[in-house]
């Protein structure tokens, strides 16, 4: 058969397709992805820009990394299976971590409770009702010692979802490692440290943006010198997607934030190539399977070009967008919750086909509460089934060259770049957030999505179709209210046992550093080691930096 021409495609549309559609019309007059990219009747080499081998996609492990950051991908080794976990006290969470590691999980991922994320100790009035709820409560180094008890920090890699208080938690991790005899240059892991998306989507900000960016870049500089294997930021689109953005917006707003961090680091005098490879990303994997696969591929390509063309990075490793993925929490239904296992499996498969470096799979019961142990086990097994049974891991970028996937990849790239250009025109991500632009775009998409469900344009099984009588989930994890008292007592003991004069000394030094331009990390590390609490350290910084309130 000769090469497909536009004329030949037109003939097919006018004859075969038209005849068929006139007999049995399509389910919808128009098909599109969640980002409103049109899905045509058929994708062909013409849509994918196929000119022999598509020049834009390159080869795995090479610029622009569309097909993956490594040449072998999962033929070399699987992604890191990393379940985000943390609840109640450090004691209980330590047990869960040791269980997960025994079950074959290959990295840890710490969820902190909200007071820890917002810089309040467990005995603060605003912590009332929140202690240990969405993650583990950490008040002082003491809790961190318990959290990683019997877990060798030179062997595991640990990801910590922590932003406004990232410097404090990183300092505590370094201090615990020291006590285990592990030097900071051996530590592997990630702190989220992405404060910009806290203003636009996630909400755990403390300080105004300018001061927050100073802390972020202080961490970059410190890690470069003392914790070189550590990912000093995980620029996150996940939370913007969960807040309702489309796939295109997720890519665009995340990369725009990434640009802002790099610009801030460069302004501080850091060399692009010295920090670029320690910047990692975090994306969501949502329901629309092929769009998600294309999204990951597009994100890699756009970032590679940004690093090369905008920042003039020289090293190959600077071009590589490495990312963690979590399946989409907002897609989990409270109705027929067992169906969530299937949703998660598909989303996880999309992440793997998109070339993720690590993955968290959500649990079936998370529309109700934090997951119980059985649910977490199924979620982890889902990843293991994809890795060991599905066969997709034996090929690198197996969907590469699919007309539909390449066309979607191109289209997402184009639309995301339009957004990035628009944000550039506004003066960058920090300005766009301050103007409320990103928040509004996300809120509009969230509202549209809800309306699409309510008008049955978007079907969600068990919600607006195929409903059935609910069988309530058993054994939903409950955080006992006693956790709060236990945590407060532990905090009181720490305060009674420490040298208060030394604590004061370190806090005064920290404030002084904050008022000047010294890197904050050494002072925070001193304070942490003196058992100054997370709340005390945060308060010291609040005194100097002030607090941000939502506009």
């Amino acid at each position: 058969m000769p090469n497909l021409t536009p004329e030949e495609l037109g003939r097919w549309q006018e004859t075969t397709l038209k005849k068929s559609v006139s007999k049995s019309p399509a389910r919808q007059p128009y098909f599109e992805t969640t980002s409103h990219i049109e899905l045509k009747d058929i994708f062909t080499p013409m849509d994918a820009g196929d000119d022999g081998y598509m020049p834009d996609i390159g080869l795995p492990g090479e610029f622009p990394f569309t097909r993956g950051v490594q040449p072998t991908m999962y033929r070399g080794r699987f992604w890191t299976m990393r379940q985000y976990a943390g609840f109640a006290t450090a004691e209980e969470t330590n047990q869960r971590y040791r269980y997960l590691l025994q079950q074959g999980q290959t990295g840890l991922s710490v969820a902190f409770d909200l007071p820890t994320q917002i810089g309040y100790d467990s005995d603060h009035p605003l912590s009332d009702g929140e202690v240990g709820k969405v993650g583990v409560a950490i008040d002082s180094l003491k809790d961190m010692e318990i959290l990683f008890d019997s877990i060798p920090l030179d062997k595991v890699s640990t990801s910590m979802t922590i932003n406004s208080t990232a410097a404090i938690l990183l300092a505590m991790y370094i201090a615990v490692a020291e006590k285990q005899g592990v030097k900071s240059d051996m530590l592997q892991g990630t702190i989220q440290n992405d404060v910009l998306k806290e203003y636009s989507a996630r909400g755990t900000y403390i300080f105004p943006p300018q001061e927050s960016m100073r802390i972020v870049t202080d961490i970059f500089a410190y890690c470069k010198d003392f914790v070189p294997k550590w990912n000093s930021i995980s620029v996150s689109g996940y939370h913007m997607r969960e807040a309702g953005s489309t796939a295109v917006q997720e890519v665009a707003f995340t990369l725009a934030d990434g640009i802002a961090y790099l610009e801030a680091a460069i302004k501080k005098g850091l060399d692009v190539d010295s920090i670029a490879s320690r910047i990692s990303f975090f994306f969501c994997s949502h329901n629309n399977f092929l769009e998600e696969v294309a999204k990951f591929r597009a994100a890699r390509r756009i970032w590679a070009k940004i690093m090369k063309e905008r920042f003039h990075a020289k090293k190959d490793s600077s071009y590589m967008l490495r990312f963690h993925t979590q399946t989409a929490g907002c897609t989990l239904t409270a109705q027929q919750p067992e169906n969530n296992v299937v949703r998660v499996a598909l989303q996880a498969l999309a992440a793997v086909l998109g070339g993720t470096q690590s993955l968290h799979t959500n649990s079936r019961d998370e529309a109700y509460a934090l997951p119980n142990q059985d649910s977490v086990t199924i979620a982890l097994r889902t990843q293991q089934i994809i890795a060991y049974e599905s066969g997709v891991t034996d090929l690198t970028d197996p969907l590469g060259g699919s007309y539909a996937v390449e066309a979607l990849t191109n289209e997402i790239e184009k639309k995301a770049e339009e957004y990035i250009n628009k944000i550039d025109e506004m003066g960058g991500a920090i300005k766009a957030i301050a103007a409320g632009y990103i928040q509004k775009e996300i809120a509009d998409s969230a509202y549209q999505y809800q309306k699409d469900i309510e008008s049955n344009k978007q079907i969600i099984v068990g919600i607006n179709r195929f409903q059935s009588a609910d069988v309530p989930l058993k054994d939903v994890l409950r955080i006992k209210p006693e956790v709060e008292d236990y945590q407060k007592q532990k905090l009181a003991r720490v305060k009674a046992d420490r040298n208060d004069a030394r604590v004061m000394e370190t806090l005064v030094a920290l404030k002084k550093a904050a008022q000047g331009t010294d890197n904050l990390m050494p002072s925070i590390l001193d304070a942490v080691k003196a058992y100054a609490t997370l709340g005390e350290i945060s308060d010291a910084l609040r005194e100097v930096f002030g607090e941000y309130t939502q506009q």
């Binding site: 994320q117 989507a201 309702g244 109700y368 509460a369 969230a446 469900i453 309510e454 989930l473 409950r478």
Partner: protein, 131 residues
């Protein structure tokens, strides 16, 4: 014509997940109600004083952190203490089914779980708010 219903959509506690709250606020507004949205991280005291000051008929609380058992009842209790016990309170978020009876006993009129439609919530508010 019926008078305009005034609603306060509030986020007690520390969680920043405001997607649901914002969607509900907008849907109620589109349905012709007057809606005040508090923004995130509001204390029970702030919510109650906003509700009284704005003279609302009903408060919708959204929380996804698991602190509902502590914070929802506290808000109802504070309303009663301030002589505003006639302001109705409903809630939504990530809430285990087993917690619902206790919350209703504490004076929360209704709990909407993930998957609830805004149409149902609008219908519910119109039913429950006295004309």
């Amino acid at each position: 014509m019926a008078r305009t219903i005034r609603a306060l959509i509030a986020k007690p506690g520390l969680d920043g997940h405001d997607r649901g709250a914002k969607v509900i606020a907008r849907a109620l507004r589109d349905a012709g109600m007057e809606v005040i949205y508090t923004g995130i991280r509001q204390t029970p005291e702030q919510i109650v004083s906003a509700a009284i000051q704005e003279g609302v008929d009903i408060i919708g609380l959204s929380i996804l952190s698991g602190a509902h058992n502590r914070l929802f009842p506290k808000i109802v209790q504070l309303l009663r203490e301030k002589g505003a016990g006639d302001i109705l309170v409903f809630g939504g978020g990530i809430i285990p089914v087993d917690d619902i009876p206790g919350l209703k006993e504490a004076g929360i009129k209704e709990i909407f779980l993930p998957g609830s439609s805004t149409e149902d919530i609008i219908r519910y508010i119109r039913e429950i708010v006295p004309a």
